[in-house]
């Protein structure tokens, strides 16, 4: 299993290590509004939330509570309308689109509800893709991709295209892909929603193991009680605001 990334990769932002260090990523009084016709709907309102190395955090709440929006803001997939998102203590709002892309590439991993694998790439190539973006040499890419696929239980599926894999296998490939560049934080949006119960349990155990062994922080947006029960910190959202933030 890959270790958690050490602070400071190619994107120019050094992510902190150590308990006294600033959080890996934090929302500071962040708000995000959506326009629906003539009305403006608040999806996230004045949320402050920080994620530190090795945390296993579940964002829970009813539909429309702002879980995914907050995940997108913290993952630099979206920009807040008010407030800011800091990565390693640096305001990510000041970064260019390329700078934000590089930060995601080097420090973040993503797992999506619908897996979002690249259809024309094999399992191994999907895992290798973020490393291609980082300029990792081909032999190293190949070795690490296979290691990760082995670690998620997909030995022998290296050359298989996503459409020939089951839902659970696809999500395992997605997890391997999320870990390929040795990220500091993995953002997972409803990662178990499209999986059967047995597969979902296995996926969550795998993520928890990665978190504990590698120090990788995981942030889930989820409805799934199995995710919540495994989380060491649960943040409840309601109407775009943090209702509670409990450590376990």
């Amino acid at each position: 299993m890959p270790s958690g990334g050490a602070g400071g990769k190619e994107a120019g932002v050094r992510l902190p290590a150590g308990s006294a260090a600033p959080p890996l990523v934090a929302a500071v009084d962040a708000s995000r509004f959506y326009r629906l016709g003539t009305s403006v709907v608040p999806a996230v309102q004045g949320v402050s939330l920080s994620i530190r190395r090795g945390e296993f955090v579940a964002l829970q709440g009813p539909s429309g509570s702002g879980k995914t929006t907050l995940l997108n803001l913290l993952g630099l997939l979206d920009r807040p309308d008010q407030g800011q998102v800091e990565v390693g203590g640096v305001d990510a709002g000041n970064l260019s689109e390329n700078g934000r892309s590089d930060l995601r590439r080097d420090h973040f991993g993503f797992v999506f509800q619908t897996f979002n694998l690249i259809a024309v790439l094999s399992a191994e190539e999907n895992v290798a893709y973020p490393m291609i973006l980082s300029g990792v040499p081909a032999p190293e890419r190949r070795e690490r991709s296979r290691e990760l696929l082995d670690a998620v239980g997909l030995s022998g599926k290296y050359g298989v295209r996503p459409d020939l894999l089951s839902g659970g296998q696809r999500q395992r490939v997605a997890i391997a892909r999320a870990l390929s560049n040795r990220p500091d934080v993995v953002f997972a949006d409803e990662p178990t929603a499209n999986l059967d119960s047995h597969t979902a349990e296995g996926i969550l155990d795998l993520m928890r193991e990665v978190c504990e062994s590698g120090g990788v922080a995981f942030l889930f947006a989820t409805h799934d009680p199995r995710v919540v029960s495994r989380a060491r910190r649960v943040v409840s959202l309601h109407d775009g605001r943090v209702e509670s933030d409990e450590a376990r």
């Binding site: 997939l77 979206d78 390329n98 995601r104 979002n116 690249i118 024309v120 190539e125 973020p130 560049n181």
Partner: protein, 407 residues
């Protein structure tokens, strides 16, 4: 994995659409290649035909360039035999043949028809030009031409004569008196242009000089060059050499003399240029539609790639690469198609209709013209790049969150 490798996989994934777009490119390319080959062949044939008619260079009295003759041979080239010998000594010159242009009346005793006459040196003339090949009845002139005459088929028909019959040729001499000679019809020529067929008369320079009473004066010396000889430099050398020998001459290039060649060239370039532009627009529109569909269908994938840290510029290049890959593959298929069609057309024996005023069409002939293939490839790559650019730009600017939720 390079953007081209990824592009190629995406194209293979959308096989039907790729084939459709590839077919558009292939047909566009084939049209470029075939039209280019046809135009090149036509220009070459026209150039060869022009040169074999007027020569590559013509040596004339300098006054003949700027002034119009009011009397026959008023601005002719005097002491022509010496000038011809001087010109023939130039290392770039293959043949120098004299010509005398004149007008007059041909009569069979019962009927008179005006003619456009040319006095020639039959042997070299037949060797260097089409003159001998145009004879459709009887023979071309031989030796110094003697008292022989070759008539256009229209002229012979108007006079009601055939090879072996006698005609009388009347013309005005340089001192404005009327003179006549008897001649025997040796052959009938079809000079491919109806109006000229009705007026064409060719006789030997000796007989022409006797008719015009002007020995050692010709209208021009027609110069044919050796293969590879530089036309401009040879013209300069001839002008210098003849000038040094006391001649006041101008050496004219075939392009100056063949206005028709330039006009036809411009006409063809205009027609095929317009068709080419229409072709490019069709390919651009087709490709833009296909690429826009591809971007729309793959919006979620674009969102994923962007989320994983793909820079917008790389997304742009990915889609541009797909356009370029289709262009290259389509051109390869189009080249094979064009080569097959070319062979089929050339073997078909199809005769193109004669151009206005001409009496004969010509068999279709499409040359293999590498420049047209290269131009087609460049045009298709540029066209597909342009067509892909705006959809690709849109893809690179897509909002990641919206793309990830795209249905």
């Amino acid at each position: 994995m390079s953007v081209f490798a990824l592009a190629w996989r995406n194209l293979r994934r959308q096989r039907r659409r790729t084939l459709l777009m590839g077919a558009v490119v292939a047909f566009g390319f084939a049209a470029f290649a075939l039209a280019g080959g046809f135009i090149a062949q036509t220009f070459d044939a026209l150039k060869e035909g022009t040169i074999r008619t007027v020569g590559q260079l013509q040596v004339v009295n300098r006054l003949a360039v700027t002034r119009t003759e009011e009397k026959t041979l008023e601005f002719g080239l005097r002491d022509a035999a010496r000038a011809r010998a001087i010109a023939a000594r130039d290392p770039g010159v293959d043949a120098v043949i004299p010509r005398i242009d004149f007008v007059g009346l041909a009569t069979n005793g019962a009927r008179s028809v005006p003619f456009l006459g040319v006095g020639v040196d039959p042997g070299p003339e037949a060797k260097a030009t089409f003159a001998g090949e145009l004879v459709v009845a009887g023979t071309y002139l031989s030796g110094d031409g003697g008292d022989g005459v070759v008539l256009g088929t229209g002229m012979a028909s108007a006079l009601g004569v055939k090879p072996g019959d006698s005609v009388t040729l009347l013309a005005t001499t340089p001192d404005a008196t009327l003179n006549a000679v008897d001649a025997v019809v040796r052959g009938l020529a079809d000079v491919r242009i109806k109006e000229l067929n009705d007026r064409y008369v060719a006789i030997g320079v000796v007989l022409a000089s006797r008719l015009l009473q002007s020995s050692e004066t010709v209208s021009k010396l027609v110069v044919f060059l050796k293969p590879g000889a530089d036309e401009r430099r040879t013209a300069e050398r001839l002008e210098r050499a003849l000038g040094a020998a006391g001649y006041s001459v101008a050496v004219r290039h075939w392009k100056e003399l063949a206005v028709f060649y330039g006009q036809v060239r411009l006409l063809y370039i205009g027609i095929f240029g317009f068709v080419g532009i229409v072709l490019v627009v069709i390919v651009i529109l087709s490709a833009a539609i296909v690429m826009t569909m591809a971007v729309t269908e793959r919006t979620r994938e674009i969102g994923t790639l962007r989320a994983l840290g793909t820079r917008p510029s790389r997304v742009l290049w990915m889609f541009l690469a797909e356009g370029v890959a289709i262009a290259v593959a389509g051109c390869a298929a189009g080249a094979i198609f064009a080569l097959v069609v070319r062979v089929a057309l050339n073997a078909s024996g199809i005769i193109l209709p004669p151009p206005p005023g001409a009496t004969h069409g010509m068999p279709i002939n499409v040359r293999f013209y590498p420049l047209a293939y290269a131009a087609g490839l460049v045009a298709m790559i540029l066209t597909m790049s342009l067509a892909s650019f705006f959809p690709a730009k849109r893809a690179s600017r897509v909002s990641i969150v919206e793309a990830l939720t795209h249905v």
